[in-house]
């Protein structure tokens, strides 16, 4: 062996056989004796020391024993009562206050649930007749108040200051700049009293010009409306009155023109007396509206304009792809047939297109459109804002006061930030030290809307009041109080608001009642509106950019989660999976599979089960956004791409939440449609996508049928009960013979059931956030989401069809023959979603099975069954074997892989005192190593029952609610007691459309679904 002959030396000393060093080292470990004496000090003192080794061991033993004994004792908990208790607060009982959210993007009348003076949840205000949308962002807004990155007080030149200092500084600046132009750039405030205040402010400082800036603009629609009806506003639509809805690029179930249309839409979508509305959608990006449509036609924005022209009458369909042309002709026919029951809408950022739509609806007398009571929640004029932007850059504007807007972040001109820094006066009203506030000389810290007074006119004749629900957390002052101060008015804004309302709005009505209701309906005309000069409806702005050669048409959109990006530091919203892409913590370029394949862009799964993708650079003229991840989106129109606004914020945003890229850089002329070119760049992006399997593979997870079959065929045909085999006989799974289990008796007392109507569910995600807030569901962060460890108790599954329709899937599966030749191939193909798929949403939470598979496998009986139908989960009993999750056919159980509260690794709201104020004290915060899941909001049913017991009365049907059912704007989720045969949910259970998820398994869930019916009638 060669190796054995080799000798290795540790040092050169070893070469010398006679080295004394080597000899010494043979006997001793060290060449020189170790100086222990020096090390330990004087030997005598050591010996004289009273601490012997034994003593030392005794001390160690004693301290260990004492520590372990002390650990056996509970901590001392202090209870500090009020010194003077407020009358309305009873500790442990929630109070509700009506208020209105108005952040310039979301406007909604809401109820705020407070506990011991802390707002903990947002709910819908049922007194609001107007369809104000309480969407996911509104539900999450309560957490934005407890944002630790908020400004805690006013600032001058970057240093903390007092309000007195700020007042003096502002007054000084304003009077020094008497002859220079100062622009007051605000969000749409829609506040009559504030409008008057601003007018007073302008009277005092005539050099101030007020410009409204909507971060996400509806300027063209406003211009069109103003030109036609001579007031600035947006036509309101009630889609429940429409039988045929044709939308050309308008995501009206999303945030189109302020949103809030899903309730009316859903009303018309539930088949009643054999009828339901027909919805045709022409669009580029796959939007919520497209996903809900009966027919969705992918069309690029430039095609959309042609589609619109063809629909309203005179345009031709030549040049459009055959399929699109065919769809346009059919849609036109249906619209004509519907007459005044039809409605046409568009989201194209083009005045001409918007005018066409208004003219069309006006012409046919569409019942769905309401122009006499326009929406007033969006007022900005892109032209004016562009003037301001250019004025700042050119230097003609000397001062800029921003209120609730963040132009440094959201203006599509990189030169603005530099110019802003050089302005003579910059004052930012902001809740956080955002991009603008961090550059401003003066920063006025504003309170959250839950800490403010205010009023909002969301729609002509519909007024909302804003009232504080908590004392301001920080040293903040709202805009109105500042304006009062600066105009030398000593009254508080509350007094001002009250007297304004009593004079102008209430007309003798009760102020207290108005504050109590939070919403006030009166058909008065307020003439304080600052009228924006009627725009010369020039085509210079609002004309769609011409597609460039080799480029792609980009449609900028807002995501359900982040909207315009104001709440980017809200972990609930960051973690909310987008209803369409099911991807959270990101924005990305959506692209059709064909375009992606052409450019060699891919999405693929990696070892931990997560999805990765490629990056591209997006170029628009000089502007380049680097490293934008690409997500292949089924249904995306060929030649078009989509990118969400509101991401890529950095200032005052926690590092975990600095996600995505800033698409406002591409928001040229505040127009959502742009032309871009893209090029692939190196790198691999990690997506946090929670649903990687996009198709149902022909299974009946979501049952779907057509209106025709629904109307003409027996239930057995379209919603049959699955058959199982017993003794080689086929029997229905619901028959007692197919039952392995002994049934619980649930005929006595309450038996709760949850009904989910797949026709009404638009996938908006409000329920997910409501569940978050009600049940203290933790946020886990992007990297855990990638590992499919999301904690949402309620998820909204989204399925694509792999053929043109779900029916097609079924046919393909059934017609495939022979394992190797047909079936296998068919199944593989069915994993891939179609280029223009049908889409269906399905909210899935714990199904509360009467025959629950999870209960039988729990070794410690931590999950058990209640008589009232809930499947209980005792967290304190759970030892974390996860058998239950593995045995659950619905995959709704969530495991606490880590401690998500008070853990720096998960530095979200549960890790700071401020954020923890949002926790619901009636629901325990789960610890590491336990399983959790939907409890059917047992704390809410228990409370309802207890209230009834205390009053000594039976429970009324409408009283039972869960967080999701209460949040559901469309009424898709209904909750109640099926032992009460007059209840709504009992009627739902008896409905022909009712089915259970995976019914063939025989779990007998207490959650049931209503079969989705699509109106595919083309004539």
């Amino acid at each position: 062996m060669m190796a054995s002959n080799k000798k290795y030396w540790k040092s050169v000393e070893e070469l010398d056989q006679n080295s004394s060093m080597i000899k010494t080292l043979k006997q001793n470990e060290f060449a020189e004796p170790i100086p222990t004496d020096e090390f330990l000090g004087n030997k005598e003192t050591m010996e004289a020391s009273s601490t012997t080794r034994r003593d030392f061991l005794k001390y160690v033993g004693f301290t260990t024993a004492a520590a372990s004994l002390a650990a056996c004792e509970g901590p001392v908990i202090k209870s500090i009562p009020y010194v003077v208790a407020p009358d309305e607060i009873i500790p442990g009982v929630a109070n509700y206050y009506a208020t209105t959210m108005a952040d310039g993007f979301d406007f909604a009348n809401v109820l705020v649930k407070t506990r011991e003076g802390r707002p903990i949840k947002i709910e819908r205000n049922d007194l609001a007749l107007h369809n104000g949308s309480v969407n996911a962002r509104v539900h999450a807004s309560v957490l934005s108040m407890y944002d630790k990155n908020r400004l805690t007080g006013p600032k001058l030149d970057g240093n903390d200051a007092s309000w007195g200092d700020l007042d003096a500084a502002v007054a000084g600046k304003l009077s020094a700049m008497a002859d220079k132009e100062v622009v007051l750039l605000t969000q749409t405030l829609a506040s009559p009293s504030t409008a008057q205040l601003i007018a007073e402010f302008k009277t005092k400082y005539p050099n101030v010009r007020h410009v409204v800036y909507d971060t996400v603009s509806s300027s063209e629609a406003l211009d069109a409306f103003q030109a036609k009806y001579s007031t600035r506003g947006l036509a309101d639509y009630d889609f429940s009155k429409a039988e045929v809805i044709v939308s050309v690029g308008a995501d009206f179930i999303g945030d189109w023109q302020g949103g809030g249309y899903e309730a009316g839409y859903a009303k018309g979508r539930i088949p009643k007396n054999g009828k339901m509305s027909r919805h045709i959608q022409f669009e580029a990006n796959m939007s919520l509206s497209g996903a809900n449509a009966d027919k969705r036609v992918p069309t690029t924005p430039s095609q959309q304009l042609q589609v619109l022209q063809a629909l309203v009458g005179n345009g031709s369909t030549s040049g459009l792809p055959e399929k699109v042309a065919d769809a346009v002709n059919k849609a036109k026919g249906q619209l004509q047939k519907a007459g005044n029951k039809g409605v046409l809408i568009t989201g194209l950022p083009n005045v001409a297109a918007q005018t066409m739509v208004l003219d069309y609806n006006e012409g046919v007398g569409s019942e769905a459109m309401n122009t006499s009571h326009p929406k007033l929640t969006s007022m900005g004029s892109a032209t004016e804002v562009i003037n301001v932007m250019n004025g700042v850059i050119s230097g003609s504007v000397k001062g800029l006061i921003t209120v609730g807007v963040n132009p440094v972040y959201s203006f599509p001109n990189a030169a603005f930030a530099e110019a802003y820094k050089k302005l003579e006066m910059t004052l930012a009203f902001a809740m956080k030290e955002d991009e603008t506030a961090s550059l401003a000389q003066m920063v006025a810290a504003t309170p959250h809307y839950l800490e403010s007074w205010g009023d909002v006119q969301t729609k002509k004749g519909v007024f909302g009041l804003v009232q504080p629900t908590i004392r301001p957390l920080f040293n903040t002052r709202q805009l109105q109080d500042c304006l009062l101060n600066w105009t030398g008015n000593s009254s508080s804004y509350y007094d001002y608001l009250k007297s304004y309302w009593q004079t102008n709005i209430l007309a003798g009505g009760s102020w207290n009642q108005a504050v109590h209701d939070g919403v006030y309906h009166t058909d008065i005309n307020l003439d304080v509106e600052e009228n924006v000069a009627v725009m010369e409806s020039s085509s210079a702005h609002g004309a769609l950019p011409k597609p460039v050669q080799g480029g792609l048409e980009l449609t900028l959109y807002t995501k359900t989660g982040l909207g315009d990006g104001q709440q980017a530091n809200n972990p609930w919203l960051q973690e909310l999976p987008d209803p369409i892409t099911r991807t959270s913590w990101d924005n990305y370029l959506t692209m059709s599979a064909a375009d992606a394949a052409e450019m060699g862009l891919k999405n693929y799964s990696v070892a931990n089960g997560a999805m990765n993708g490629n990056y591209v650079n997006v170029k628009m003229g000089e502007v380049v956004i680097e490293r934008v991840p690409v997500l292949v989106q089924p249904g995306q129109a060929m030649g078009s791409v989509g990118l969400a606004l509101g991401y890529g914020r950095k200032a005052a945003i926690q590092s975990e939440m600095q996600t995505g890229v800033n698409a406002y850089a591409l928001y040229n002329n505040f127009s959502a449609v742009q032309n871009v070119t893209i090029e692939k760049v190196e790198g691999e992006h990690e997506f946090a996508c929670v649903q990687l399997h996009n198709t149902m593979m022909g299974r009946d997870i979501i049952r779907e049928t057509t209106l025709e079959i629904f109307n003409t065929k027996d239930k057995e045909v379209w919603n049959g009960i699955p058959m199982v085999s017993k003794d080689h006989q086929e029997i229905p799974v619901t028959s007692p013979d197919a039952n392995l289990w002994e049934d619980f008796d649930r005929s006595i007392g309450h038996h709760f059931n949850l009904s989910i109507d797949l026709n009404a569910c638009t996938g908006c995600g409000a329920c997910v956030i409501a569940c978050h807030a009600e049940n203290n569901v933790p946020v886990v962060g992007k990297s855990e989401m990638r590992r499919s460890r999301d904690m949402h108790w309620l998820r909204i599954d989204r399925y694509y069809s792999s053929e043109e329709s779900f029916d097609g899937d079924l046919e393909k599966k059934e017609s495939a023959e022979g394992w190797f030749t047909g079936e296998r191939k068919a199944l593989l193909e069915m994993e891939v979603a179609s280029a223009n798929p049908q889409v269906a949403f399905q909210p899935v939470m714990c199904q509360h099975c009467n025959h629950a598979p999870c209960e039988t496998v729990c070794p410690v009986a931590a999950t058990s069954h209640g008589r009232q139908g809930q499947n209980h989960m005792a967290y304190n009993r759970c030892v974390g074997t996860r058998y239950c999750a593995n045995n659950c056919p619905y995959k709704v159980r969530r495991f606490n892989w880590f401690l998500y509260n008070e853990n720096d690794e998960f530095d979200y709201y549960m890790n700071n005192d401020l954020g923890r104020m949002v926790l619901n004290p009636d629901v325990v915060v789960r610890s590491r190593g336990v399983m959790e899941k939907c409890s059917m909001c047992i704390q809410m049913t228990q409370k309802t029952i207890l209230d009834a017991k205390r009053d000594g009365r039976p429970v009324k049907d409408s009283e039972f609610k869960t967080a999701c059912s209460a949040a559901c704007e469309t009424g898709a989720i209904q909750f109640g007691d099926i032992n009460d045969h007059s209840s709504e949910v009992f009627k739902q259970k008896e409905d022909n459309r009712m089915y259970h998820l995976l019914e063939a398994v025989g779990t007998k869930p207490n959650v049931f679904y209503q079969t989705k019916v699509r109106n595919i009638n083309e004539a």
């Binding site: 509970g74 209870s79 003077v84 442990g92 058990s864 989960m873 304190n876 009636d922 409890s935 207890l946």
Partner: protein
């Protein structure tokens, strides 16, 4: 001690515990007997001092009566009736020797004329409005506090009250606690003597036996009787060690009993029955709920409507303590047995709530009281007071024990799940006169064939009813 406790394992701790409990019980007994004892022994000196006091008083009273008789025409005044009237009508705002809402009234007759006082007491506001200078001065001196009109009081009544206001302040009767701390004798001591005597007798017997044995041996030796030496047997411990089976059995027994005690000890970890922490203010439930019979719900009002019973906010304390700045001397004496000066505790309340006694006004400077929470349910349990108090009609004492007897509040019940469940199994739901239960009661009684339903039968044992 600690070390021992750990080394010798769990039994020590338990025994210490029980011992200390017994000790405490014994101490409390002693306290009670002490008190009785004290009262008994105090009789003589106090009667003596009373006599002495009476002498002094008669002297001083005769002086004052002399003085008043000069002012007033002789008339029959009834001090006792005056006291009753004072306590019924005036005491809410006035004290004799100290300013309260109104001024101190001791010898008020000296300050103002009788006629004026009649008018003032019957309707002070009329007097103020009439512009009477003195009345206005008094009104303003008391921060414009409007005195209730007493038209129902006759001049005779007022005279009686005024007579009562001349009752001199009693010298603070500091209970002479150190007197007569004679150790309790009797039973205990005689038992000891008997024990010692018995022990002596026993010792004597042993010695006698030994002596008898020796004497007999000597006799036997002398008589030449050979005493057979018994064969030396193996010692019992050696025999034990040699018997493997016995060792095994003993080991098993020791291990089992060790495990039993270890289990018992571990099960009491986290069960804080008897937990009675020192509170920032020595608040006596015995005085408030016991002696004064204040309803629990007066202070813990949210127990009827909320999950929390609620620690009363300090403004609730001030409802009464605005006028109760000092306790009665007897109560003060009781307090000394617990080593507490109740008046000081009331001062602590005033500091916390920001009440200035001198000006009888709130300063606005508050220091919220940080009570130590006694009943700590874990976070994963949902308990609702209103369910038990309002719906079930349970007495507070069922779970909280004889609070009205507790000087220092302590945790009465173990608050373990077993304790909850036992009660839910045994307690009938109060379904009468509650329309909520009508239907479910009818159906469930049919199902179980009983008329009364326990909480358990109603579903009160399901996990999810308390854990969510």
């Amino acid at each position: 001690m600690y070390f021992c406790a750990v080394i010798f394992g769990t039994k020590w701790c338990v025994s210490i515990d029980t011992k200390s409990n017994q000790l405490r019980a014994k101490l409390m007994d002693n306290n009670i007997t002490d008190r009785m004892e004290k009262v008994h022994y105090r009789n003589l000196p106090s009667t003596l001092s009373f006599l002495w006091l009476a002498l002094v008083l008669t002297f001083s009273v005769s002086q004052t009566t002399l003085a008043t008789t000069v002012v007033l025409p002789a008339q029959a005044v009834d001090t006792a009736a005056g006291e009753a009237l004072f306590k019924a009508n005036c005491a809410a705002c006035h004290k004799l020797y100290k300013k309260a809402t109104g001024p101190a009234l001791f010898q008020v007759g000296d300050k103002y004329s009788k006629e004026w006082l009649y008018k003032w007491i019957v309707n002070s506001q009329d007097l103020v409005k009439s512009g009477d200078a003195q009345a206005v001065a008094v009104f303003e001196a008391n921060n414009g506090a409007v005195m209730t009109a007493f038209p129902q009081l006759s001049t005779a009544d007022i005279d009686n009250i005024l007579a009562y206001t001349y009752t001199p302040q009693k010298a603070p009767t500091v209970p002479t606690a150190d007197v007569t701390a004679v150790p309790t004798t009797g039973g205990g001591l005689s038992n000891d003597i008997i024990l010692v005597a018995l022990a002596l007798v026993f010792l004597l017997l042993v010695i006698m036996l030994f002596l008898v044995n020796r004497t007999l041996r000597h006799i036997a030796e002398a008589n030449g009787v050979v005493v057979e030496e018994t064969e030396k047997r193996t010692p019992i411990w050696k025999a034990f060690i040699q018997n493997q089976f016995l060792v095994l059995v003993a080991a098993i027994f020791l291990l089992l009993s060790g495990a039993y005690f270890a289990y018992g000890w571990m099960m009491q970890v986290g069960v804080d029955q008897g937990y009675a922490p020192v509170q920032p203010i020595h608040y006596s439930h015995r005085i408030h709920a016991g002696s004064n019979q204040i309803d629990c719900n007066y202070c813990h009002s949210s127990a009827r409507r909320s999950k929390h019973s609620g620690i009363p906010s300090l403004n609730v304390c001030m409802n009464c303590h605005k006028s109760i700045a000092e306790v009665a001397p007897e109560t003060l004496a009781e307090g000394q047995e617990f080593g507490v000066d109740y008046n000081n505790e009331i001062k602590k309340l005033y500091t916390a709530v920001g009440w200035d006694e001198a000006s009888q006004a709130y300063t606005g400077k508050t220091e919220p009281v940080k009570w130590v929470r006694i009943h700590n349910l874990p976070d994963f349990v949902y308990f609702n007071h209103s369910q038990h108090v309002t719906v079930a009609g349970q007495q507070c004492q069922t779970c909280h024990g004889p609070v009205q007897e507790m000087e220092i509040m302590s945790q009465f019940a173990p608050l373990t799940m077993g304790w909850c469940i036992t009660c839910h199994r045994e307690t009938n739901v109060q379904v009468e006169d509650n329309a909520y239960y009508d239907k479910i009661h009818e159906e469930l009684s049919k199902k179980y064939g009983v008329d009364k339903l326990t909480a358990a039968q109603m579903g009160g044992l399901e996990c999810g009813k308390c854990h969510y």
